[in-house]
C-alpha cells in the first residue's frame, strides 16, 4: 500500500528563547492507505500537535508533510482550506456540529461547501451505516451525544476523503456510544478502504487500530501493532513510565 500521509523530520516549536517548547522534536512517520492508526501519548507529548500538522491545521516549524501526494509546506491558506475540504475528514471530541443545520445537512456540509451534490445512493448507504436513517431531519440539539458523533463520523466520510483524522472521538461519550463509534471507524477501514488516523488516550479505542504510535516529549517512542487493550496498556506503561 502506498503512503497517504508522510511526515519527515517534523518539528514544531512554540514560543521563543528560553520559554520555547518543542511540541514536536523531529518526527518522521508514514501512514499507509487503508489502515487505522492510533496515536497515543501522555498530555503534552505532542500527539495533538502532530495530528494538527498532518492535517494542515497547524504549520510545522520545520520538516515536511505530504498528504495524498501534496506537499503542505508553502501552500496558501486557500489551498490548505481546499485540501482539507476535498481530501480530509475530521471527527472532533466535541462533535462540533452546526446547531442550525439538520443531521443530514451537517453530514453533507463538506460537499455543500465545495458546491457539490452528494451521490444520493452513497449518502443513503452512509446514513444507514451510521444508523441515523430516522434522524435525518433532526437538529443536533435533538440528538444524543452518541448520535451527534455518528453524524460527525458520517460527515467525515461523506466526501470519501483520502484520510480521516479523529481527535479523541470517544472522549465525550459513554462506553456504549464509544463502542458504536469505534465500530464505525473500524468498518470504514475494513469495508470502504478508508485511511483513519486517530488520536486517543483510551486504550480500548486504540485497541481497534491496526497500528499503535506512541509519542512522548515530541518524539515517536513506539511504533508497532496495536494488539488488544491489555497489550496497549502494557506498551504505554513501558514506554511512558
Amino acid at each position: 500500500m502506498p503512503d497517504i500521509v508522510t511526515a519527515t523530520d517534523l518539528t514544531r516549536r512554540y514560543g521563543e528563547g528560553v520559554a520555547a517548547v518543542d511540541a514536536l522534536a523531529g518526527v518522521t512517520v508514514a501512514f499507509p492507505a487503508g489502515a487505522l492508526t492510533a496515536i497515543m501519548g501522555p498530555s503534552g507529548s505532542g500527539k495533538s500537535t502532530l495530528m494538527h500538522c498532518l492535517a494542515g491545521l497547524d504549520t510545522p516549524t520545520s520538516g515536511s508533510v505530504t498528504l495524498d501526494g501534496v506537499e503542505l509546506a508553502g501552500l496558501s491558506d486557500k489551498a490548505l482550506t481546499e485540501l482539507r475540504r476535498d481530501r480530509v475528514g475530521f471527527v472532533f471530541q466535541a462533535f462540533n456540529l452546526l446547531p442550525v443545520l439538520t443531521a443530514e445537512e451537517n453530514i453533507t456540509l463538506p460537499l455543500t461547501l465545495a458546491g457539490r451534490k452528494p451521490d444520493q445512493a452513497w449518502l443513503d448507504q452512509l446514513i444507514e451505516t451510521v444508523n441515523l436513517t430516522d434522524r435525518r431531519t433532526h437538529r443536533p440539539a435533538e440528538l444524543s451525544g452518541g448520535q451527534q458523533q455518528r453524524v460527525a463520523v458520517a460527515r467525515a466520510l461523506v466526501h470519501k476523503p483520502a484520510v480521516v483524522f479523529a481527535d479523541e472521538p470517544t472522549g465525550n461519550l459513554d462506553s456504549k456510544s464509544s463502542g458504536e463509534i469505534l465500530t464505525l471507524l473500524r468498518r470504514s477501514v475494513d469495508d470502504l478502504g478508508q485511511t483513519v488516523i486517530m488520536v486517543t488516550h483510551d486504550a480500548k479505542a486504540a485497541a481497534i487500530a491496526d497500528r499503535l504510535l506512541v509519542l512522548a516529549d515530541g518524539r515517536v517512542v513506539h511504533d508497532g501493532d496495536a494488539g488488544d487493550a491489555d497489550q496497549v496498556f502494557q506498551v504505554m506503561r513501558e514506554v511512558v513510565a
Binding site: 492535517a55 486557500k78 482539507r84 476535498d86 472532533f92 466535541a94 462540533n96 443545520l101 461547501l113
Partner: protein, 854 residues
C-alpha cells in the same frame, strides 16, 4: 465589584468604543445644536449691541408682537416730520432719522453679491455717535451718486475707491461711485451681510421710502438719563403709532426677536439629535443583553462565590454608567466639531447661518452629559436586571443562553402599540396647537417604534425566511447559514433591525410626504395659474421690489399683471395668527380660484373693507357672506372687514392659506408694500415668446434678483425647494441610520465571538475564508433588510395616517416607489458595510484556537 467592572471594560476596549459610538453621535448632535445656535445668538447680540452704541433712545414704528413677517418686522415707516418733533424735545442733543432696506448689490461681474445667501442692505449715513460704521478708506458719501461699502464686500469683490458699483433697489438698478470703505465696529462685516451706505435721501429713494424713516435715533444731552429721555420723547409723541425704547432695550428686543426665530431651528435640530439618541438606546440595550448572556458563566461564578443580586445589578449598571459618561463627554466635545459641520451642511444646501467662535454654555455641557448618561443607564437596566436572575448553577452548565427564549404573550407591546397609535391620532385630530400636535405625533411615533421593536422578534423568522430564500438560492449554503444565524436569536436580530427600522421609517415617511407635497403643489399650479408667467425673487421666497410690477406693465404684449402680498394678522375671537393674502383687482386675469360661494368677479370689488374667507378654515365666527371680522394688523391698526364671498381653496393653493383682501388694504393697513410674487398674462398682440423675452431682458437689466417662470418652470422651482429641504432632512436622519449601523456591527461582532468554535469547525472541514466572510455579510444583509422593510412599512403607514386630514386640502398622496426601493437597496449595502469588520474578524480566526475555544 467596582474594580471588576473597570477591569472588564478595559479588557474590551473595542467593544466599549463601539458601544459608546451609539451614544456619542446623538449627544454630539445635541451639543452641536446648542453650540451652533448659541454661537449665532452671540454673534448677533454683539452686532445689535454695537448697532445701538451711542443711541440713548430709539423711536421705531409700533409693531404687534407675533405678527412680524418671515423677514423681520413689517411696519409702515415713520413720516420724516417726526424727526423734527423729537429733536425739539427738551434734553435731546441730536435726533436723526435712519433708513435701512434690502437691496441687491452687484459685484464687478454684474452678479449679485452673496456671502452665501446673507442679505444686502442699503443704509443711510448717520451721525458719528450713532453709526456703527467706521471708515477705513475714503469718506462718508455726501452726494446722491456716491456710496460706501462694508470692508468685507469691498475686499471680496475687489472694489477700489472711484469704482462704479451697481445697486438694484425698488426703482431698478443704478450705478454709484465708491467713495468710502467702512468696518462695522471692529469687524469687516456684519455677520456676512453686505452694506451700501448712502445719503438719507438716496437711501429713501432706493428703498422706496421717500419722506419716511425706519427709525429715529436720539442722543441725550449731558445729565439726562436714557430712561428719563425715553419718557419725555414718549410724551411728546403721544398718540403716534410709535414704540419708544432706550438704546439698550432696542438691542435687547432685536436679540430676543432673533432668538425666537432661531428657536425653531434649535428645536428642529434637537429633534434629530433626540432621534439619534433614541436609536442609540436600542443599540445599548442590545449590546448589554448580548454581553450579559455571554457572561452568564462569569456572573454565575460570582453568584456562587457569594455576590448578591444587588452587586451583580450594580456591576452592570456601573458599566453602563461609565460607558454613558464616557460617550457623553466625547459626544459633547464632538458637538464642537459638529457645529461648524452643521453650518457647512446648511450652506451647502443654500441656508446660510452666520457664525463666530464657538460658544459653549454651561447648559450645553449639563444637558449633553445628562442625556447621554441617563439614556445609557436606562437602556441597560433591563439587561442588568436579567443579569441578576442568573442562577449560580449556571456556572456549571455548558452553553450560553440569552433570555429565557420563551415567547411571553405580547400584552405590553400590544398595549404600547395601541397607546402609540392613540397618541398619533390625538396629535392629528385632537385640534391642539401646532406645537402640541407635533409633540403628540413625535411621542406617538416613538411609542409605536418601541411597540414594533418589542413585537418584531415574532416577525424575524418569517421576514428572514422571505429575504433569505433568494439569498439561499443565490449563495447556497452561505445564504442558508446566514439566514439560520439571523433567526437563531430572534430577539437580538429584532432589536438590531429595529434600530435601523426607525431611521428608515422616518426617511420613508419624509420622502412619501415630500412626494405628496410636490404633487399637490404641481396640481395646484396646473389648476390655478392660468396666466403666462409668474414673477418672483430668484431666491424663491423673498419679496420683490415694488417697481417690478409697473415696469412689467409697460412691456408690450403684457395683458395684465397682478400682485400677491402676504402678511399675518390677529382676528378677534381667534387664537393664534391668521394669514392674509392681498390681491390686485386684475388677479382673475391670471389666477383661477375655486369658490364655494361667489365667483372671480368678487376679486375685483374687494375695495377697502371686503374680505374672502376659505371654506373649512372658519375665521372666528365669520362663516357666511355678510359676516364681519375685527382684524388687528402688524402695524397695530384695527380694521373691520366684511365677508364678500367664500373660497374653496386648499392649503396648497395660493389663496388657500388664509383670508383674502385687496392690495389697497394690505399696503395701507398692513404696511406690506413689496409683492411676494406677480402673476402675469400676455395678450396676442405679438408672439408670446417675444413678450417673455422682453420681460426677461427688462428684469435682467433692472431687477437682476427677480425672475420670470412659466408654469413648468414654476413647478420645477417649487419642487426644487421641497427637494432641498428634503435633502437637509435626509442628511440629518443619516445620523440615526449611522448609529443603527454601529448597532449591526456590534451585534455581528458579538455573535461572531460567540460562534468562535463553530466557525473554527467550519474552517477546519474546508470552508474558505471567503465563504466565512460571505456568511457574516449575508447575515448583516438579512438583518438590515428586516429593519428596512419594517421601516418602509411603518413609514408608509405613518404617511397614510398623517396625510388623512390633509386630503381635504388637496394633498395628493403618492408613493415614490423608486425612492423606497433605492432605500431598501441602500439598507442592504449598509448592512454589507457594517459587516466588513465582523466578517474580517470571523475569517481571521485561527482554526486551532477557535477549536480549542471554550
Amino acid at each position: 465589584m467596582t474594580s471588576l467592572t473597570l477591569r472588564s471594560l478595559a479588557s474590551r476596549k473595542l467593544r466599549t468604543a463601539l458601544t459608546s459610538i451609539a451614544i456619542i453621535l446623538g449627544v454630539a448632535m445635541i451639543s452641536g445644536t446648542f453650540v451652533l445656535t448659541d454661537t449665532i445668538n452671540k454673534s448677533f447680540d454683539d452686532i445689535f449691541q454695537a448697532g445701538y452704541e451711542g443711541v440713548d433712545v430709539a423711536v421705531s414704528p409700533k409693531t404687534v408682537e407675533g405678527l412680524e413677517g418671515d423677514t423681520g418686522p413689517v411696519a409702515e415707516p415713520l413720516p420724516q416730520s417726526l424727526v423734527a418733533r423729537v429733536a425739539a424735545v427738551d434734553g435731546v442733543a441730536v435726533a436723526e432719522g435712519s433708513v435701512t432696506g434690502q437691496v441687491s448689490i452687484r459685484g464687478k461681474d454684474g452678479d449679485a453679491v452673496t456671502q452665501g445667501g446673507a442679505p444686502n442692505f442699503a443704509a443711510s449715513v448717520m451721525d458719528e455717535r450713532f453709526t456703527p460704521f467706521r471708515y477705513t478708506e475714503g469718506r462718508e458719501p455726501g452726494a446722491d451718486g456716491e456710496v460706501a461699502l462694508d470692508a468685507k464686500t469691498a475686499k471680496d469683490q475687489g472694489f477700489a475707491l472711484g469704482d462704479k458699483v451697481g445697486i438694484v433697489g425698488e426703482e431698478g438698478a443704478k450705478r454709484y461711485t465708491l467713495v468710502g470703505v467702512a468696518k462695522y465696529g471692529d469687524v469687516d462685516s456684519l455677520a456676512g451681510a453686505s452694506f451700501a451706505l448712502m445719503t438719507v435721501a438716496e437711501t429713501q429713494r432706493i428703498t422706496g421710502r421717500v419722506g419716511q424713516v425706519d427709525e429715529i435715533d436720539v442722543a441725550a444731552e449731558e445729565g439726562v438719563s436714557p430712561e428719563e429721555l425715553k419718557g419725555r420723547v414718549a410724551t411728546a409723541l403721544e398718540g403716534e403709532p410709535v414704540a419708544v425704547r432706550t438704546g439698550q432695550e432696542s438691542a435687547d428686543k432685536q436679540s430676543s426677536d432673533l432668538q425666537e426665530q432661531l428657536g425653531f431651528l434649535r428645536t428642529a435640530l434637537l429633534v434629530f439629535g433626540g432621534i439619534a439618541v433614541f436609536v442609540g438606546a436600542f443599540v445599548i440595550y442590545n449590546t448589554f443583553s448580548i454581553t450579559v448572556a455571554q457572561r452568564t458563566r462569569e456572573l454565575a461564578l460570582l453568584r456562587t462565590l457569594g455576590a448578591s443580586r444587588r452587586q451583580v445589578l450594580g456591576g452592570v449598571a456601573l458599566e453602563a454608567f461609565l460607558i454613558g459618561l464616557f460617550a457623553s463627554v466625547v459626544g459633547m466635545l464632538g458637538g464642537l466639531l459638529l457645529a461648524p459641520a452643521l453650518t457647512g451642511l446648511f450652506s451647502a444646501l443654500g441656508f446660510d447661518l452666520p457664525t463666530g467662535g464657538n460658544v459653549v454654555a454651561a447648559r450645553t455641557i449639563i444637558v449633553a452629559l445628562l442625556v447621554g448618561t441617563i439614556v445609557t443607564v436606562l437602556a441597560s437596566l433591563a439587561p442588568a436586571v436579567r443579569a441578576t436572575r442568573v442562577a449560580p448553577i449556571a456556572a456549571m452548565r455548558e452553553g450560553l443562553s440569552e433570555g429565557d427564549g420563551r415567547h411571553r404573550r405580547p400584552y405590553f407591546a400590544t398595549f404600547l402599540l395601541v397607546a402609540g397609535v392613540g397618541l398619533l391620532l390625538a396629535g392629528l385630530f385632537g385640534g391642539g396647537s401646532g406645537g402640541q400636535a407635533a409633540s403628540l405625533l413625535g411621542l406617538g411615533a416613538a411609542v409605536v417604534f418601541l411597540a414594533v421593536a418589542l413585537l418584531s422578534p415574532r416577525l424575524v423568522r418569517p421576514l428572514a425566511a422571505g429575504i433569505g430564500a433568494p439569498l439561499q438560492r443565490l449563495f447556497g449554503l452561505s445564504g442558508l447559514l446566514a439566514r439560520e444565524n439571523a433567526t437563531r436569536n430572534p430577539a437580538r436580530t429584532a432589536v438590531t433591525a429595529a434600530a435601523l427600522m426607525i431611521g428608515v421609517a422616518l426617511v420613508a415617511f419624509v420622502s412619501i410626504f415630500a412626494a405628496g407635497l410636490q404633487g399637490s403643489v404641481e396640481a395646484s399650479v396646473d389648476r390655478a395659474f392660468t396666466g403666462d408667467i409668474t414673477v418672483l425673487n430668484t431666491d424663491g421666497f423673498s419679496p420683490i421690489p415694488e417697481g417690478v410690477q409697473p415696469a412689467i406693465g409697460e412691456i408690450p404684449g403684457v395683458a395684465s399683471s397682478s400682485a400677491f402680498r402676504f402678511a399675518e394678522s390677529r382676528v378677534r375671537g381667534v387664537s393664534g395668527t391668521v394669514a392674509v393674502i392681498g390681491v390686485d383687482p386684475e388677479v382673475a386675469g391670471s389666477y383661477t380660484a375655486t369658490w364655494k360661494d361667489g365667483d372671480d368677479q368678487l376679486l375685483r370689488t374687494l375695495g377697502d373693507d371686503g374680505v374672502l374667507i376659505n371654506n373649512g378654515t372658519a375665521v372666528g365666527d365669520a362663516k357666511d357672506v355678510g359676516d364681519t371680522l375685527d382684524v388687528l394688523t402688524p402695524t397695530g391698526k384695527r380694521v373691520t372687514l366684511t365677508v364678500r364671498g367664500v373660497l374653496d381653496e386648499g392649503d396648497f393653493d395660493l389663496l388657500g392659506g388664509g383670508m383674502v383682501l385687496s392690495t389697497a388694504v394690505i399696503t395701507k393697513e398692513f404696511g406690506v408694500r413689496q409683492p411676494a410674487l406677480l402673476s402675469v398674462a400676455f395678450d396676442d398682440s405679438r408672439p408670446k415668446e417675444q413678450t417673455r423675452k422682453a420681460v426677461d431682458d427688462m428684469l435682467a437689466a433692472q431687477f437682476p434678483n427677480v425672475e420670470a417662470q412659466d408654469r413648468e418652470e414654476l413647478k420645477e422651482s417649487q419642487s426644487e425647494q421641497i427637494g432641498q429641504l428634503l435633502a437637509l432632512i435626509y442628511a440629518l436622519l443619516a445620523l440615526s441610520v449611522i448609529v443603527s449601523l454601529f448597532g449591526i456591527v456590534n451585534t455581528l461582532a458579538l455573535s461572531v465571538f460567540e460562534r468562535t468554535r463553530e466557525l473554527g469547525m467550519l474552517r477546519a472541514i474546508g470552508t474558505t475564508k471567503r465563504q466565512v466572510r460571505r456568511i457574516v455579510r449575508l447575515e448583516a444583509v438579512i438583518t438590515s433588510l428586516i429593519g428596512a422593510s419594517l421601516g418602509v412599512v411603518l413609514g408608509v403607514l405613518f404617511a397614510l395616517l398623517v396625510s388623512r386630514p390633509l386630503e381635504e386640502e388637496g394633498f395628493v398622496l403618492t408613493f415614490p416607489i423608486a425612492t423606497l426601493l433605492v432605500l431598501l437597496v441602500l439598507s442592504a449595502l449598509a448592512g454589507i458595510v457594517a459587516a466588513i469588520m465582523p466578517a474580517r474578524r470571523a475569517a481571521k480566526l485561527d482554526v486551532l484556537e477557535a477549536l480549542a475555544y471554550e
